[in-house]
């Protein structure tokens, strides 16, 4: 390791979130708090049927209601205004609806109550069509079509790869296991519900306040929306208020944003649309459900020979990023453990269910559930201890995987050892108690999905030693503000509270591809570090003239600029800034930096080093299974991660705890119950999010591998916490009572049914 944590002043310190007091005291301004003069309230009417033709819409009564300013239907939406990366989704549908969350009309009124009343006055005549709700059935020849004109329910996506020779490897394998695993809908459950406020100025430029994780890409989407509305060459300003949680849910632009824009334009007034909790459950996107067929083999020494996986993803009625999650699933499939021969085929299938989106882990949890469950099955079949089996196949620094991922730093083995040590995998458990382990790989150094994976930062120093940094990166509660501040403070010899982080206003901040793929610490962190380095150099050059020593001898620490060992040559940084500024020909110290990691787009072959570095981890669980009820109690949980370097261990632990709790919900309790396309549990009573009382004590050992490309050695850790949780639990249940549950969530019902099956 190049530098020890004790050599840092600010990096590696447990500094509480800089906005903690603001949030705790109710001062943080969320979208709910945005109020503009003359603002109207928008509401959306959703389809009554999962699949139907719209025969007639009568909005006359709604329009006549006092206080209503505008009523829109699909007819009012410009033809080219569409959402999603394949643009198959207009913000209000016309002619045909293919899910219950399809927007069919929208209203703007002087109060939310009147807007709601107006919705009730809209009369729509539907002609119901047969729906299809099972993706595997939707693939059958005679299945009803979700989109008639496409002639098939299967999306045209490129998810079909073959590295090496799987058939040959299978023949040569000593042991092979094969099975089917399924995962279901779960949803982000952000504490802050979705919403947007749109307004136009007199020159028809748009400002939109919106909960988004992608200010720059949203900016582009909204420019396109304006263009579709006939507003060419206009400006768009995206302002992100404080976000109450993202978890991937805000990685696309949505109907409510586009509808707010349309209504604001029509009414010439600001229009606000904010979801209530039921709407949040019903009209935002879920994690995509999967059906996975997996076959894996190993030789007689336990070395993995091949992995063959086939998946069917329920795409829902429209397409958002959910359909691209196979690109990330490919990463664990091809590269979690060393395996040379890999086949993967994924089909995204239209159904009349809700459409899915990005959610923390972006497909990785679904894939890892199948892979790591299957790893245990294969180890058992080969007669090899499951920890040993994983170690035989572990990834190592310097590896290049079949997909072309270049593993620069890898602490997987250390993570596995940490779990083993904490949980004592000695097989000597009481009846009904068992342990389980599962590992993970995830992108930890950006992820090149678009042409650019970059982030910009602009840094300016005032006259007193304080910094404003304008970053493209987005803080949505995860703590990027802290990370940015700590990185800049470390580099400039300041304290974290000297750094003011300004983010998420596209008029002010540079471009960034978005807060996704666990990339912000790495990419936005490197952008901030680059800008800080440039300013530091300017300070050193200026001080070298003052102190008359070479620039490289000058250090910055504890708010001082000084020459080590020479007490005369020391000055408060603030004073130096004033000396630089207030003189003839003076200057302010500022810098900008755009950091774009040296990672690769996956080409047609679906090969390439998509991230600069990869994060690794191993999770271990000790569970107790009540064999009479099927109820699973998590007794202990260990989540060890190779994070490169913990810039802020407090926040890091927070990310891991939160991830694990989300993962435990995924494993055991959470499920959006869907019946014929209808969400049956759109509330927190029936959607079983873990409560504080359910929370499990989690140990989170941190392995620091000091990545050569990370800012101060750090890699991304935003998503990994929820990636291998479900298989760790499933494996522990198997260890405890000998039943393998292959369908999430692992409810008492499923466990008990399996036990009854096993015991006859």
């Amino acid at each position: 390791m190049s530098k020890n944590n004790s050599e840092f002043s600010v990096v590696g310190k447990r500094i509480p979130k800089l906005d903690a007091a603001q949030k705790a005291m109710g001062r943080a301004e969320y979208i709910q708090d945005v109020k503009l003069p003359g603002m109207l309230f928008g509401k959306i009417l959703y389809s009554k049927h999962a699949h139907a033709n719209i025969v007639k819409i009568d909005t006359s009564k709604a329009k006549a209601l006092a206080g209503v300013h505008a009523v829109l239907t699909g007819e009012d939406v410009p033809k080219k205004m569409k959402m999603g990366f394949i643009k198959d989704n207009p913000p209000i549908k016309k002619g045909n609806v293919c899910s219950l969350r399809d927007e069919v009309a929208a209203v703007a009124a002087i109060s939310p109550e009147i807007a709601k009343k107006a919705l009730d006055l809209i009369e729509i005549e539907y002609e119901e069509l047969e729906g299809i709700f099972d993706p595997e059935k939707a693939m059958e020849k005679d299945s009803p079509l979700v989109h008639e004109h496409l002639k098939s329910n299967v999306l045209k996506m490129p998810w079909n790869i073959h590295y090496g020779d799987v058939e040959k490897a299978e023949k040569e394998s000593a042991f092979v296991v094969e099975d089917r695993f399924t995962t279901t809908w779960v949803t982000h459950c952000c504490m802050g519900t979705s919403g947007a406020v749109a307004l136009f100025d007199a020159s028809e430029n748009l400002t939109i306040y919106t909960n988004t994780q992608i200010p720059s890409l949203a900016h582009k989407d909204f420019l396109e929306a304006l263009k579709a509305m006939g507003l060419e060459n206009k400006r768009v300003r995206v302002i992100k208020p404080v976000i109450g949680g993202g978890f991937g849910s805000k990685l696309d632009t949505y109907a409510y944003e586009h509808i707010a824009i349309l209504l604001a334009y029509k009414c010439r007034k600001p229009v606000k649309i904010v979801f209530d909790r039921v709407e949040e459950f019903k009209a935002t996107s879920t994690r995509q459900p999967t059906v996975t067929y997996i076959k894996q083999g190993c030789d007689k020494n336990g070395k993995l020979t091949f992995r063959d996986m086939r998946m069917v993803l329920d795409n829902g009625g429209h397409t958002s990023w959910g359909a691209t999650t196979p690109s990330v699933m490919l990463m664990p499939i091809s590269s979690l453990y060393r395996v040379e021969n890999v086949k993967y085929n994924a089909k995204c299938v239209y159904t009349n269910n809700t459409y899915s989106q990005a959610m923390r882990g972006y497909g990785n949890p679904q894939a890892t559930f199948a892979i790591e469950s299957s790893m245990d099955m294969l180890a058992e079949k080969a007669g090899i201890d499951r920890i040993e089996f994983r170690k035989i196949n572990k990834n190592q620094s310097g590896d290049e995987t079949p997909q072309g991922l270049k593993i620069t730093s890898c602490g997987l083995e250390e993570c596995i050892d940490a779990v083993k040590e904490e949980l004592k995998f000695d097989g000597k458990n009481e009846k009904g108690i068992g342990t389980g382990i599962a590992s993970l790989i995830h992108v930890g150094g950006g992820a090149r999905i678009y042409g650019s994976d970059g982030c910009g930062a602009i840094l300016k120093m005032d006259d007193y030693g304080k910094v404003d940094i304008f970053t493209g990166g987005t803080d949505m509660g995860q703590g990027l503000d802290n990370i940015t501040a700590q990185i800049v403070a470390e580099e400039l010899g300041l304290l974290a509270e000297d750094i003011n982080v300004v983010h998420s206003d596209t008029d002010i901040c540079p471009w960034d591809v978005g807060a996704h793929a666990s990339r912000s610490t790495f990419v936005a962190g490197n952008a901030a570090l680059g800008a800080a380095k440039k300013v530091k150099k300017k300070i050193q050059v200026f001080a070298s003239k003052l102190f008359d020593v070479p620039a490289q001898e000058i250090e910055l620490k504890d708010k001082l600029v000084f020459v080590p060992g020479d007490r005369e040559k020391s000055m408060l940084i603030g004073k130096l800034l004033r000396k630089a500024h207030f003189r003839p020909g003076g200057t302010m110290l500022m810098a900008e930096h755009f950091y774009d990691p040296d990672n690769e787009n996956m080409g047609k072959e679906l090969k390439g080093n998509m991230s600069m570095t990869y994060s690794f981890g191993a999770h271990g669980a000790k569970v107790k299974v009540d064999e009479e009820t099927g109820k699973v109690e998590v007794l202990e949980y260990v989540a060890a991660h190779d994070v490169g370097r913990a810039i802020n261990p407090l926040l890091l632990e927070g990310q891991v705890y939160g991830g694990v709790i989300m993962g435990l919900g995924y494993a055991l309790t959470e499920e959006v119950t869907v019946k014929d396309g209808e969400i049956m549990n759109a509330n927190f009573r029936d959607y079983k999010l873990f409560t504080a009382k359910d929370a499990v004590k989690i140990k989170a050992p941190v392995i620091e591998t000091d990545d050569k490309d990370g800012p101060f050695g750090a890699k991304g850790i935003g998503e990994p916490g929820c990636v291998p949780t479900a298989p760790a639990i499933a494996n522990a249940i198997y260890d405890a009572v000998g039943v393998r549950i292959k369908d999430l969530p692992i409810t008492p019902e499923k466990v008990l049914a399996a036990l009854k099956d096993k015991n006859g």
Partner: protein
Amino acid sequence: MKAFKYLSPTTVEEAIAFHSRHSETAKYIGGGTDVIVKVKEGWMEPDYLISLKKIGDMSELHKNDATGELSIGAMVTHATLEKSLMIRNEYPIIHDAVSNIGSLQVRNVGTIGGNLINAVPSADGAIPLIALDGMALLHGPDGERSVEVKDLFIAPYKTILKPREILKKITIPPQAPHTGSAYIKFGRRAAMELPLIGIGVLLTLDDDLQTCPRARICLGVAAPTPMRAFDAENFLVGKKIDENILIEAGKIAADESKVRDSVRGKAWHRKEMILVHVRRMGLKCLNMIKDNN
């Protein structure tokens, strides 16, 4: 949410008078944890909410040492019951039930009376009161009447209460010696959970500490209203209770339950949980009786 006026009478008579004046558009409110949810959702649109909070004696929890009778005012909160040592020691089944209702916040304001009158099949508070042979004292425009708690319920959200009638208190007759009682709410989460099924068992033993003269097996979410498993109870009466007998009783209770498949859980699993927990709660009762002897 529709606006309403909030009235705070200080006597039962005044409350009834308020209600009479505003008839259809008025609604009593205890802690409001059910009422306010319904008003907010628009399922209920009262013009007046008549709070029973200021009616002094309705919040009293009192055991008459002379008669052994327990009296629980309808406005006693779950938290008050949960924290009472007397309840914990002498009526463990009540403690079991109320201490797992909702969350701390809900228990701090939610009342036992509201829990009964809201009349959902999953009402945690109803099961122990039925098992303890509780009597409900009702007060209406025509005066007072007393009914068994088990007979309060007609259907989900429907009780036998007449218009404007108020539940004043619940009384529990003195408990026989050698009595044990226990309740479990079986669900998927540790808090904020509707039971998938609720199982309450009360057993009294003779001086031989074996023969059972009186048994109560009460079930929540097993029928449209909280129910007693009479067949299972009758099966136990007169028998010397051991684990095998309790297993049998569990089977009978599961059979006579009217559990259904729902989005929350499958009928077969609910039955299975009745079977398992009648035994477990029964054993808990036996241990309690032994420990107290």
